[in-house]
Amino acid sequence: MVATKKQNDGVGLTHEGREYSAETLHEMHDMMLYIRRFEEKAGQMYGLKKIGGFCHLCNGQEAICVGMQQAAEATDYMMTSYRDHGHILARGSDPTAVMAELLGRAGGIVGGKGGSMHMFDIEKNFAGGNGIVGEQVPIGIGFGFASQYRDDKRVSITIMGDGGINQGAVYESFNIASLWKLPVVFVIENNQYAMGTSLSRASAETHLFKRGISFKVPGMQVDGMDALEVERKMGEALAHARSGEGPMIVEMMTYRYRGHSMSDPATYRTRGEVDEWRSGRDPIARLQKQMIAAGLATEESFKEKDKEIKKAVAQVAKDAEAQPEPDPSVLWDDIITDEIPGAYPYPRQVG
């Protein structure tokens, strides 16, 4: 399910002057649908108490995950908050390992140590999965700093939400990144609710792309429900950061269909509001419509694809669930690298 990059065959459709091949469009669509079905399965598994702790789903926000990946290089760094399943799947990580992590299994992507909020894949340059709101933002500029230090032209894609944007760490990061022209794209997934607090109840300036003005960080607002628009604008932001001109803010306007986490019934918003986004602006339905209009697919072919994906996700869940729990011995693994024999607290020892 890895979305391979760029257009290489005939033009499938054109969006704002950019051409997308049929192959690329199918890959983007399939990945969005895969994420949707994966999250639904995760929700189910949570309901069955097979997934524990906190579990934050990204249903509705798939266009951001997929559009950004399409624009980014595989060598670019990426990190986000705890709403991380969709991003790591779009990044091309093994879905069975992601599901196994949710289930606390040995083959989990971080060996069962992290769970839903702490998905990491160093092979894919995916640095979390960070559980403290806004914490990943200073870390993100650190990756950008390393890129500049080594002059290797990698961009750090540092993602936060409309909740995270109000943390002080974010503004310290905007300032440093701008001052030193670090190659960072700050992505704000504005789903309009920080847990149960709406944007207008939490933010004096609700146009979040303007939040960099004091730091001379340019910003733009993007329809985060449109995968092609996300791809196009993200491409511009990445080019800006990569060229050495410094960071950029991209505010992705989006909506999460589910509550903040699985334990949130989302009573703070109306059914009508949710339905308006769900039925009127859904990113998957939107791309399907565009692709059907361009003659690249039919309603029937999408139905077939959906069946195929549901089956694949079910298999992933089955395979992940069949895995053993982590071996008790790993409790003591990976705390420090250079253990010092004879010094207390002793590695692998209670007393």
Partner: protein, 326 residues
């Protein structure tokens, strides 16, 4: 061996490590053009240039987190806090990110880096700039905590900390920066996790770290005049702790006083005395006594400040008490 200051010793360690490894860089407030608030990084900007010796805005959380990210990306940051009092602003990055990164990522990422700067009580700067908080960091799996008490250890331990593949909390002492003593020239490494017997004695074990090591040595001189032969042990690395050296000493002296500048409750002394109780109960001829900072925020007035800190006289008194000589 040349006689140099504690701050010059730290400078030598950083310069040597930066010469041998391009991944190492120094970042913090006033480290470059100002040559360091305490002149620890004197001359380093001239030597290494602005790519590797980097002045930051006053933004502890930001540059601590930047260091965490840079270490995850393969660099070896030395992040200087002007003092450890300001590191409190960066606690999330130290505790929730650096300390846990290797574990939380199943070993994929780690944070090989040094957070360093001046800690402990300073002189006449009141509560917010004068405190010993090493017990906070020593409580956390994933961190190492290192505190040199003299120039040679400062050089050797800092070099070892920079080469170490884990996150090291390296707490220097503000009062000790001008101390002068002999320091080996060139490359010099003091391994982490090894205590040092600073004075050999047979009657009582004094365990003290950082600035308190000097106090313990002064107390030992006074005790010698009174016919008590004290052994002084400096753990040097607080976490992980070389308890064997302490326990071996207690087996010999049967008596121990643990000294620290920090507060008593859940402090380093509490941990060390608990370990002595757990591991050397039968060796003890008397309960371990702790000498600590008083349980008050540091006051400004000179007389009150003196009262708030441990003193040589208090160490002498505690040693006499543990030896039943009062």
């Amino acid at each position: 061996m040349a006689k140099i200051t504690y701050r010059e010793a730290l400078n030598q360690a950083m310069c040597n490590e930066m010469e041998r490894d391009d991944r190492v860089f120094l970042m913090g407030e006033e480290v470059a053009e100002y040559n360091g608030a305490y002149k620890v990084s004197q001359g380093m900007l001239d030597k290494f240039g602005p790519r590797r010796v980097i002045d930051t805005p006053i933004t502890e959380l930001g540059f601590a987190g930047l260091g965490v990210g840079a270490s995850m990306a393969g660099l070896r940051p030395i992040i200087e806090f002007m003092t450890w009092n300001f590191a409190i602003l960066a606690m999330d990055q130290i505790v929730n990110a650096a300390a846990k990164m290797k574990y939380m990522t199943g070993g994929q990422y780690s944070c090989p880096m040094v957070f360093r700067g001046a800690g402990g009580a300073a002189a006449r700067v009141s509560s917010q700039h004068s405190q010993a908080l090493e017990n906070w960091y020593a409580n956390i799996p994933g961190l190492k905590v290192v505190m040199p008490s003299n120039p040679a250890d400062a050089k050797g331990l800092l070099a070892a900390s920079i080469r170490d593949n884990d996150t090291v909390i390296f707490i220097e002492n503000e009062i000790n920066y001008g101390d002068v003593s002999e320091v080996p020239e060139g490359e010099y490494i003091v391994p982490l996790g090894k205590a040092d017997v600073k004075r050999v004695g047979k009657d009582v074990t004094l365990v003290a770290h950082s600035r308190m090591t000097g106090y313990a040595l002064a107390a030992a001189e006074e005790l010698a005049k009174q016919g008590i032969d004290a052994e002084v042990i400096d753990p040097r690395t607080i976490r992980p702790l070389d308890e064997a050296t302490i326990l071996t000493s207690v087996a010999k002296t049967n008596r121990a006083v643990v000294i620290e500048e920090g507060w008593r409750f859940a402090g380093i002394g509490a941990e060390i005395s608990a370990r002595i109780m757990e591991k050397a109960f039968d060796d003890l001829d008397a309960p371990v006594i702790r000498v600590t900072g008083k349980d008050v925020p540091m006051p400004y007035a000179a007389n009150l400040e003196t009262l708030a800190l441990p003193s040589v006289a208090e160490i002498v008194e505690a040693a006499r008490a543990v030896c039943n000589r009062n």
